[in-house]
């Protein structure tokens, strides 16, 4: 039986997705060979397949996965919600971000250089926050730091806690890290996703009711895209505290990231 145009046109989508039975497919191919109208219908069918299967370009997806809210974010969100392949790619990108933030703890040899950067960052922070260090010294029992102690030495024994911004919690757990307030200070490494560069950065520490407990300005953004801060935890009495990282320029401050932390006496 010869296939007519109507039957041919209706079967084109399944020819394109490769699921026609052999016999049906050969009949359709024979028809197409002699029918220019149906060949142009085939071209149109392919075009719609192309439209329906278009994924965001990888560069666009990477930016979106890292929280860039440029035009088109809504289209990408819609697409990712219905496209398992892109959802998987977004997961990979976010995984990469999380791995970076946790890099110094991991044992992978590939992470050594970043650890070195972070050590340098800690040393720089030690020099930059002499004032705070003096404060830390005051709390030290018996003034064990001695006068004029500065640099990396006292920092070596401080607990180091790395924080990921809210919204980037590790899979399977949304609990904020717990720190003990037994030590005088904690060296915090704050990872950030914000790509724009600001003139100034500051950190505000708020309690559960939003009251400001402490703040520090003039944070230095490290080449690793994070900030190192010495947090005087002895002052932090709230069970859960919130840290807000702001970027400043032209006399105004913009909230960039928030972090959560739990304290245990």
């Amino acid at each position: 039986m010869k296939m007519d145009c109507t039957s041919a046109i209706e079967r084109l989508p399944w020819m394109v997705n490769g699921t026609l039975a052999d016999e049906e497919r050969s009949e359709l191919e024979a028809h197409l060979a002699g029918c220019p109208i149906c060949r142009s219908e085939l071209a149109e069918t392919i075009e719609v397949f192309r439209l329906a299967s278009a994924h965001p370009p990888t560069a666009v997806l990477v930016e979106w996965a890292q929280g860039r809210e440029d035009a088109g974010a809504e289209l990408i969100e819609r697409h990712v919600a219905g496209c398992p392949a892109c959802a998987e790619e977004v997961d990979l990108v976010r995984e990469a971000f999380r791995l970076e933030a946790f890099a110094p703890r991991g044992g992978a040899p590939a992470l050594r250089a970043v650890v070195a950067w972070r050590r340098a960052a800690l040393a720089a922070a030690a020099v930059a926050v002499v004032g705070l260090l003096a404060l830390v010294t005051l709390w030290m029992p018996g003034g064990s730091l001695g006068s004029g102690a500065r640099g990396t030495a006292p920092l070596a024994n401080l607990p180091v806690v790395e924080l990921l911004p809210d919204g980037f919690a590790l899979r399977g757990g949304d609990e904020p890290p717990v720190i003990e307030t037994g030590s005088d200070a904690v060296a915090l490494i704050l990872a950030t996703r914000a790509e724009a560069v600001w003139d100034h950065y500051r950190l505000r520490v708020l309690d559960a009711d939003g009251r400001e407990l402490w703040w520090t300005a003039d944070l230095i953004r490290q080449p690793t895209d994070d900030f190192t801060v010495l947090l005087p935890v002895k002052m932090m009495t709230g069970a859960e505290i919130r840290l807000v990282l702001d970027g400043g320029g032209d006399g105004t401050w913009t909230e960039l990231e928030t972090y959560r932390l739990r304290t245990l006496p």
Binding site: E10, N17, A54, H55, V60, L75, E89, L92
Partner: protein, 187 residues
């Protein structure tokens, strides 16, 4: 560009081993999550990413709007995703190539530009949920008997529905393209 970043770029391009190590570790970190996906090819992917980063920095494409580390990460992740995508082509693209070997629009060859993607996404957005669902089933490689069964409808009715969706999609695309041209033309 922040001072430390421009110094690092200069050192890296000048062949400084410390700078090279720093940047290659950043690339390794960005690509780390692709290990299980690439298996034995992972090191090739990292080498490819390193090549892309080096090329971009040499050509001065890092404008310093963000940090160098964020830029390196972005280039490395994009390279890895491109490789991942090239590994799993749509099953219908081979058929399209077979039918239209000379067609430059063959989906496997085209680099999807941002504009192309945006137009496609807008067409899909305007399509009815029913049409989107039908087309997703087609892309998932379901034959018409399977689709008819899932939708609890006769195969003939289904084929007509799909045809209507196809025509509608083409109409939407023409309308959007026309509007785009109208807004771009000055006066």
């Amino acid at each position: 560009m922040v001072g430390v970043d421009s110094t690092l770029v200069d050192e890296f391009l000048g062949g400084d081993p410390m700078a090279a190590e720093t940047i290659s570790k950043w690339i390794g970190l960005a690509a780390w999550s692709f290990r299980s996906r690439f298996g034995d090819d992972w090191e090739d992917a990292v080498a490819d990413a390193t090549l892309q980063v080096t090329r971009a920095l040499r050509e001065g494409r890092f404008a310093g709007r963000g940090t160098l580390k964020a830029y390196v990460r972005r280039v490395a992740l994009t390279t890895c995703l491109d490789r991942l995508r090239s590994k799993k082509r749509w099953r219908w693209t081979e058929l399209v190539e077979e039918l239209h070997p000379e067609d430059p629009k063959s989906p496997a060859d085209r680099v999807e530009s941002e504009d192309t993607w945006r137009l496609a996404a807008m067409v899909v957005k305007e399509m009815s949920d029913d049409c989107v669902r039908l087309w997703r089933m087609l892309l998932d490689g379901l034959d018409y008997a399977q689709m008819a069964e899932r939708l609890d409808t006769a195969a003939g009715t289904l084929r007509v529905r799909v045809l209507r969706c196809r025509k509608r999609a083409v109409e939407i695309r023409r309308k959007l393209e026309c509007n785009n041209k109208a807004t771009r033309t000055p006066e």
